[in-house]
Amino acid sequence: MSLLELDSVSVFYGQTQALYDVSLVVEPGEIVCLLGGNASGKSTTMKTILGLTTPRTGEVRLAGERVSRLAPAGRIRRGLASVPEARRVFPEMSVEDNLLTGAFTRRSGVRAELASVYESFPRLAERRRQPAGTLSGGEQQMLAFGRALMSAPTLICMDEPTMGLAPIFVDRVLDLIAALNRDRGLAVLMVEQNAELALSIAHRGYVLNTGHIALSGPAAALIDNPAIRTAYLGA
């Protein structure tokens, strides 16, 4: 059964339609990337998946269960987690409190999860008492990953995880995503501006254009698609 399904989802902001019959699936253990230019509907798609907006028509399903009307907390309990755009760590809270906030929806197993995150990211353990705002961009991205892992998800939604990072961190973050996918069997849905980088680690991809799914397919096929190359890869 698919981890996540969007089934002909349409979303409106007031009178304005932002998404038109968007359908997509994420299977267990997959890295899927969502590509598209400005105002193509990427962020709205993410919001709809997380439960921050409600679709007017269509359905959102997590592991086969309808969640279209469920608040974010309910979706997180069903295995969804989020790495927000621009990381958005809580700057004045300590690293550890940031991680614990990621486990807000859980009542048990929090300490064990914390230990496991510290094991994966020793850097965070070193800085556990430090305010998150004092970390470097790369460390903040690690913290955002760790915070998402605290709810023991099966699928993490990432909104532009490489945005605003120094070039040396970009590759490291992509390696990290690939490693999370490989070692923990996590499925990842990520929105990216940088199509080439995203497709280099993804299994499949979707291309959004003005609220419609314009293209979809295996990463390798997309990367060779001439339309993609002209539109997003600048070649």
Binding site: A71, I76, R77, D97, L100, T105
Partner: protein, 606 residues
Amino acid sequence: MLDTALAGLVNGSSYALLALGLSLIFGVANVINFAHASVFAVGAMSGWWFSVDLDWPLWTVLLGVVAVTGLLGLVINLVAVTPLAKAPPIAALLSTFAVSVVVDNGAQLVFGPETRRFPALLATDNLGLGGLRFGTLDVTILVVAIGLMLLLGWFLRATRYGRAIRAVAQDRDAAAQMGIPLARVQNLAFVVASVLGGVAGVLGGMYLNNISPTVGSTVGMSAFAAATLGGLGSLPGAVAGGLLLGVVEAFGVSWWGGNARTLITFAVLLLVLWVRPSGLFGKRTPLAAEPMTGTFFGAARTVRLKPWQVAVAAVAAYVVPAVALDDYTVQIGVQVVVYAILALSLTLVSGQAGQISLGQAAPLAIGAYTSALLTTATGMDFWLSLPVAGVVAAVLSVVLVSPSWRLRGHYVSIATLATGLLVAAAAVNFDWLTNGPSGVSAIPPPSLFGAEVSAPLAVYFLDLTILLVVLLLVVRLRRSTLGRIWSAVREDEVAARSSGIAAADYKSLAFGIGGFVAGIGGALFAQQYGYIDPSVFGISVSLLALTIVVLGGLNSPLGAVVGAIVLVGLPEALRMLEETRMLTYGLLLLAVVLFRPQGLMGKVAR
């Protein structure tokens, strides 16, 4: 020395508890909760009721107050803050202000307005340490207050919902993505803050010994000052600000007497806003770009009357009272006209230039005192004192408020509130000039062509004529280039400044012209009564002026006149009692903000 410092700390711990709640709410909901002061009053009054009428012991009194004020906090959030979450912050500022008026005056109706003694539950002078004398009461207040602060600190650091409150305060969107229920967390923050405020009410009541349903407004203003002093949104700042202000006030009172307390509080508050608006502990971030009124009222356009309709209305305003109304009704008309002038001054400041003023009683008072003192003490002619009153009010308005032009939004409103209260406090304290609390009497009526203008109808004609001139001035100004610049500053200050508009200068100009108009109104006010004292220019006058313009349509000159007729004329004609009148103003303001933000005379643009 030490006695005074200790007394200051004990009193300051009440301020600190209140300021903590204000900062907590500001952090989570981005709202300055003007109703928080009323929570203090309800805490004090219900504490009094539990201990005196029901004879409960202290710990059950505290538990009862916790329950009452916690519930009150929840209601304040659900009624006045949550429904306005998508409106700009000014809407919630007005609605919580309205709730505070409703709660204070509702409590007066329930408990009666009189001041009562808080029972001496604990001894006040039974302990000593070195040369210092103090009582179980002082120790209890400090222990309870510090205990609560530690408890709050533990709650915010070590519990799931405590962390959630901090997360929401730092990044609402990210918190939502972690599955934190924003609405529930905001409710919780209001409950926690209000419980602290309620307990502060009991402690403060025991300490002050005397309480009344309006005790909140004085203590609450001190708490605003304390929270701003520490840095809004900073919890350690709130504690430090509260204790510091308590000590400063205690020394000030011991040197200059009890009347000086409010003067010190608002002087400190204004000074902080001028010199270090982010407070002692605050970061420099809270002043984000935030056009205050544009989006809230911008959707409304004012109803326009045709010239012949205006002419008919003006002629009727002269003729009808002359032929059909008795002296009593004409006197009501005089009041309506003076308040309409005051409201028109706000139409310029708050409607056209978009700077919400909670202290428009200040230029009214300054104008009234200037004219009254000049005509009584120096024998100056009223007609000369009238423009002088306007100019003095204009200059002082600008001088007092313009240092806060570096600030935005909430802070400007706090500064105007402080200005209003400071002027009233100054009128009480500067008795060498103002004759203090006893006021100025025997103000001579003006004369015109050798005849005294003192009959109600004559006064009415005089005031009405000035109103029409002011109305014409305001309408012309709105259509001028200056009016368009003010609109630009109101709608989007950043964009206006990018277009080369010196926003601060234009805001000062709005306050100056508004102050001039209000000062003229004040002069008329003084001549009309022949007697003024500081209590006439309290916060209720500022509130009434604001309610008039919000009801009429914040940016509608005609609305100001209609609002004055509805809010000043009707209650007078119906002979409503003072408490019910204030209660009605509060409810009306709340209803307008919630349900008809464009006011009676505004229509929504389609």
